[in-house]
């Protein structure tokens, strides 16, 4: 085996257990790949010492026969997660120099399972963006290229995670998804991304964006790998009061690809104006693949779909304006300089003006406005009522016997870095059109690669599951993966 970093988690697990490969050499291969990929700007802090110490411990566990699935598996961690002693900036200037003195629940679980940490990964500032261009570190670059050599976005906000997995810098990565931030970058880079049911994965130790929408999940090279990694990340955590006290199923054992007796809904409202023909065709092919796997395909209606984006862009900024109030230059991060005659208010206002980028400032102010006296009922309360209706649409579909829902993951393939520079902020928000409904309703969603665009770029489909139905959802994604036989990889240029 020449290129260890290109293995899937499942392949590496089996190789590590049989002794065909060593934990230390596997982690070293990923560290070398990450070091050689500066042009992708995917890694914001490399952690070779931590990774090697973890790899040595994993090697000892493997030798002793005590090897969970992730033992010795090198992972990348989105910069939103706190890893004890390692810089965590949420890709923002305002958290410059911050080193958390604690470990997020998700990363603690991954390290307990024997995984190794190759570094922190790039993202949009505070996870607000769809192209990784709002990052204080500069944008992560997709390993994929279309005709010509223009740099493409890996998507966002988990753009560094997507680029790192697609470019074989690590075997899997953590992401977070508030409106599509795992699924859109996964679709743009030809990998699998899973946003679990709200409450499945602990949010403790992850920098908060919009607390009622945020969920962490795996970004991997295959559906099986996502199942393996999700099992390790998930589970009840008393430190997160919204974490559900449910047992975690063996997601990998549920992968059969046999969909006989399952009913898959195709929501007519997702056929949006101006949808490119190749997205429409991909969606059609996806439905045919599921039918061939034994599923019954039914047309369904989710009538409030068109209101999801405007509701999301009231609710998410409202929650963000509250969550980001903590960044004031007093307890951590960057503090602005003020004049001798200025006071605490100037300290707050200048720290936040200098520390937050333009998109984050915009969203905090929108959120502040929709929560302010006189506008709360017209915007925030109304959006929360619309959210109830959006959730009810899904409940009615599931009550009518639908097991999972199939949609496109994104309205297009990846676009160029800078292509949206002169666009209205709202145009960038349209990237989330197929994914935000899932966050508003608290459902699980998975993006799975299903084909290539005319330009040779990956296109993904989205499978939406019932609440707590990740196992069945992943099985549907597995059937698509098997039928599409997607195996394209970006040619190495970096």
């Amino acid at each position: 085996m020449t290129d260890l970093a290109s293995l899937t988690i499942a392949e590496a697990r089996d190789g590590l257990r049989s002794g065909a490969i060593g934990a230390v050499e596997l982690t070293d291969a990923c560290l070398a790949a990450a070091e050689g990929a500066a042009a992708l700007n995917a890694v914001t802090a490399r952690t070779p010492d931590l990774a090697r110490a973890q790899a040595a411990a994993a090697a000892a566990r493997l030798k002793a026969g005590d090897a969970p699935d992730l033992c010795g598996i090198p992972l990348g961690i989105k910069d939103l997660f706190c890893v004890d002693g390692v810089p965590a900036q949420a890709a923002s200037r305002i958290l410059e120099g911050f080193r958390p003195p604690y470990e997020s629940t998700v990363t603690a679980r991954l390290w307990d399972a024997g995984a190794t940490c190759i570094g922190k990964l790039n993202m949009d500032e505070f996870a607000m963006g769809s192209s990784n261009e709002t990052s204080v570190y500069g944008p992560a670059i997709s390993p994929w290229r279309a005709a010509g050599d223009a740099a493409l976005t890996p998507g966002g906000s988990s753009g560094g995670s997507a680029a790192a997995v697609a470019a074989d810098l690590c075997l899997g990565a953590t992401g977070t998804d508030t409106g599509g931030s795992i699924r859109q970058p996964a679709a743009f880079t030809g990998i699998v991304g899973v946003k679990p049911t709200y409450g499945r994965v602990s949010r403790w130790g992850i920098v908060a964006f919009a607390s009622s929408l945020d969920q962490a999940g795996p970004m991997t090279k295959s559906v099986r790998d996502a199942a393996i990694m999700l099992k390790a990340m998930a589970g009840h955590d008393p430190k997160d009061s919204t974490s559900a006290p449910h047992a975690v199923p063996d997601f990998e054992a549920a992968l059969t690809g046999d969909l006989r007796g399952r009913k898959i809904g195709i929501p007519r409202e997702y056929r949006v104006d101006g949808m490119p023909a190749e997205i429409e065709a991909l969606w059609q092919r996806g439905a045919e693949m599921l039918k061939a796997a034994g599923a019954e395909i039914v047309d369904i209606s989710l009538p409030h779909t068109r209101y999801a984006l405007p509701a999301y862009y009231v609710i998410a900024p409202a929650e963000a304006s509250s969550n980001l109030a903590r960044y004031d230059g007093v307890r951590y991060g960057r503090r602005a300089k003020i004049g001798p005659n200025e006071g605490i208010t100037a300290l707050y206002e200048r720290t936040r003006a200098e520390g937050f980028g333009p998109e984050v400032r915009r969203r905090i102010m929108i959120g502040t406005y929709v929560l302010s006296a006189g506008y709360y009922d017209a915007y925030y309360l109304r959006a929360q009522k619309v959210r109830t209706l959006i959730k009810r649409d899904f409940e009615q579909a599931f009550d009518a016997g639908v097991d999972a829902i199939l949609t496109p993951a994104t309205p297009s393939a990846a676009f160029g870095i800078g292509a949206m520079a002169n666009a209205d902020p709202v145009e960038m928000y349209l990237n989330d059109v197929f994914t935000v409904t899932v966050n508003l309703a608290g459902l699980p969603g998975a993006a799975v690669p299903a084909g290539l665009s005319a330009q040779g770029l990956p296109l993904g489909l989205q499978v939406i599951g019932r609440p707590w139905g990740e196992a069945e959802m992943l099985d549907v994604a597995f059937a698509i993966e098997q039928a599409s036989g997607f195996a394209a990889k970006p040619a190495k240029w970096w």
Partner: protein, 95 residues
Amino acid sequence: MSIDKDTARRVAHLARIEVAEADLDHLAGELSAILGFMEELRAVDIDGVEPMTSVTPMRLPWREDVVTDGGDAARVLANAPAARDGFFTVPKVVE
């Protein structure tokens, strides 16, 4: 609903984000465009609909009111931009 310059100034202050006077018109325009996008919500019939307050139907758990963590002032203060004698330091708050 469109946001004028005075409202933009007030929102920026409520959010504790300094915005130069010369930038307020541009900010008002940006915020108005985003709010315009949200106007579509007015078309929804929300009569008798309860606002969503919990994503999944579960009650927030209770626990014993006891200390579970803490006593770590030095590690907490290690990230402070300015600290002295075990406290965060800030400019004078009370005149």
